[in-house]
């Protein structure tokens, strides 16, 4: 199981600014190990963020997103105390969901 995401959700004016740091290798599938064998691709493919049951951002990623991906976005309609839930799924079917409270 992967390490938890670090999520920070803060009010920025009338919007909520969300910053997410995920823990993932994001292996490209291009790299070779010391024996010359290709290291298979292993990367997050889908990211979804929800607030009060509504999707506020969804993303499709390829292996070119950096290792331990960082993501920031802003949405309207949130208030302090609300929860933002982020889920990612990688190409091996692994999944991780974490949440943060808007402050």
């Amino acid at each position: 199981m992967s390490d938890p995401m670090k999520i920070r959700a803060t009010m920025a004016g009338d919007k909520v600014e969300v910053k997410v740091l995920m823990s993932h290798e994001m292996e490209t599938g291009q790299r070779k190990d010391s024996k010359g064998a290709t290291v298979p691709a292993w990367f997050i493919q889908n990211v979804t963020a929800t607030h009060n049951g509504k999707t506020v951002l969804s993303a499709e990623w390829g292996p070119a997103v950096s290792k331990n991906p960082f993501l920031s976005f802003r949405f309207a309609g949130g208030k302090p105390g609300d929860k933002v839930i982020i889920t990612w799924t990688d190409n091996k079917g692994d999944k991780r969901t974490d949440e943060a409270t808007i402050s």
């Binding site: 499709e60 997103v65 976005f73 309609g77």
Partner: protein
């Protein structure tokens, strides 16, 4: 990835019973996710990527702003902020022209979410980086060259 299974998934589109079986079994095992545009992530040029996303020829736009370093010392972690001022922006994709596959990431913005995103991508070498925006059903783009100095000596 399993090409055979992808074809099976495509063929099974209209068959409800088989669809359910697939939803219960195969989808969970990953590898061939229905909500991941495999064709787009395998393209090598902007026009092919747009085609795989179901669009026509993209139009260059000054309403898309790419903020990034001009020179990246570490190609493994290059920060980008993309903002779109185009009305009805639905998605923003980041493409790195000289990467093995051009499409790095595609973000979808529902109503209420600002068409603005900040993330980090890998760049194999100095390259044009393209921000591709889908707004009101049409595709627009802006591009910027980012120099990558491998080895991190800043030269």
């Amino acid at each position: 990835m399993n090409k055979g299974r992808r074809d099976v998934l495509k063929g099974a589109g209209g068959t409800a019973v088989l669809g359910l079986a697939l939803a219960a079994g195969l989808f969970r095992s990953g590898g061939a996710r229905a909500d991941w545009n495999k064709a787009a992530f395998e393209t090598k040029s902007l026009s092919d990527a747009v085609k795989a996303m179901g669009g026509g020829a993209p139009v260059e736009s000054k309403d898309i702003v790419i903020t990034s370093p001009d020179i990246a010392e570490n190609g493994a972690v290059v920060p980008f902020t993309i903002a779109s001022k185009l009305p009805k922006t639905a998605s923003i994709a980041i493409l790195v022209e000289k990467n093995p596959n051009i499409l790095a990431a595609d973000f979808q913005f529902p109503d209420g979410t600002e068409p603005w995103v900040n993330t980090r991508v890998k760049m194999g070498q100095t390259s044009n980086v393209i921000a591709l925006v889908k707004a009101d059903g049409k595709f627009y783009y802006a591009s910027k060259e980012v120099k990558v100095t491998l080895g991190g000596c800043g030269g």
